[in-house]
Symmetry: C2
């Protein structure tokens, strides 16, 4: 029976990190809210599960409801061989995934530094300040970290000859940064050649070409990664 | 050989979530930066490990360097029986821990909504706005979620007769909120009796009494949880 992935329709969002792992791992799944609408997701969230999710995405698999991106990926990684089998390898990939998640949250907060539930237009002034700090301090710090991780491990973040789910997630994070901060990324790309090479390597994975050409990979828009020219800068 | 815990001296910080698990689990550990100073931590961070941490806390155990709080706790939980053994139980506790981590980050950002590396005094205006949203929208949402999780699972978050590391972390999160937002928590405590009872239950755990009376549990101050009266309100 295929897994059920529940995430809001219309944006890649945090669901995309799970989607990439399912697609690259060739794991059958149904995208429930895309088939049945966001109302079905809202209703499912209220359905009184014993172990409820705080927020989408969540995966329903083997009778379990599994929420939080890094938690879902840990499950998929182990069950479907998308991460090293060894304990040190699994912990390292989970650690990387959690660091990627931290940067994703910070990228989101550049346009919503005050309140996630309000419009960008209501928090533009604070957004300009937070985005400047993100560009100047946080982007080099995070990207420099992933650069070092790749320098030490080789082609893939966890070493070895095959990608792990953390490589797919780093690809998507960099993709989002290229969309949201194209000017800043033009500057930073030169200093982070290993990160950019990883991005291109995942973009060209044979396992993902069907997905990329399918229309299932939604374009960036009004989600986590947003392109407001006034928040970008070299 | 005891584990090495590396975290900045002087504040409970994110290190405290790990510390509580080590202490309640009676797992021997050395607090390296408290013994050797923050310079030793800074030097250790630069020591060129193949799998480097992005930031403290990290644990050095059995030759592995394990960073990110939820990752460390997943390791300790499994190795030392601080979480259910079953796969659904482990995933649920990890999911809860990641949701706790999300709220911890949001609590931090109430006083640092613009730049983690700058002073609160430089971002007071934005902090007042973000704190208002945190108090009004986010605190009820997160605490309501943990309340439902306890209503459905009983005495402890993962059900059963013994605490898991997520219970310890929720205790510390609530403790931090009581310190930082005492007025708001006075209002919210009545609506979240199960969360408050969990907090008291962990505070009274026999396993933790030595720790609480030892002086090793540092008081809150200028860390994640800060009490600025102007950011609080009923």
């Amino acid at each position: 029976m295929p897994y059920d992935l529940w995430y809001w329709d219309g944006i890649p969002g945090r669901g995309e990190f799970v989607r990439l792992a399912l697609e690259a791992g060739r794991i059958p799944y149904r995208e429930r809210a895309r088939q049945e609408g966001d109302e079905a997701l809202a209703a499912d969230m209220q359905s009184g599960r014993r172990n409820p999710p705080f927020a989408p995405p969540y995966l329903v698999a083997h009778g379990m409801t599994i929420a939080q991106v890094a938690n879902i990926l840990e499950f998929l990684g182990r069950r479907h061989g998308l991460a090293p089998r060894s304990l040190p390898g699994r912990l390292w990939v989970n650690q990387l995934q959690l660091t990627i998640a931290d940067m994703v949250t910070e990228a989101h907060d550049t346009h919503h530094p005050i309140a996630a539930g309000r419009y960008y237009e209501e928090q533009k002034e604070a957004a300009a300040q937070r985005a400047a700090d993100f560009r100047d301090a946080r982007m080099p710090k995070f990207l420099g970290y992933f650069e070092r991780a790749l320098e030490r491990n080789g082609k893939w973040l966890a070493g070895g000859r095959r990608w792990s789910y953390a490589d797919l997630s780093l690809f998507h994070l960099v993709d989002g940064l290229l969309f949201a901060f194209p000017a800043r990324m033009t500057t930073l790309a030169h200093r982070h050649p290993a990160v950019m090479a990883l991005h291109d390597r995942v973009a060209n994975l044979p396992e993902l070409q069907d997905y990329f050409s399918s229309g299932r990979r939604l374009p960036f828009g009004d989600g986590i990664f947003r392109h407001y020219p006034e928040l970008d800068g070299t």
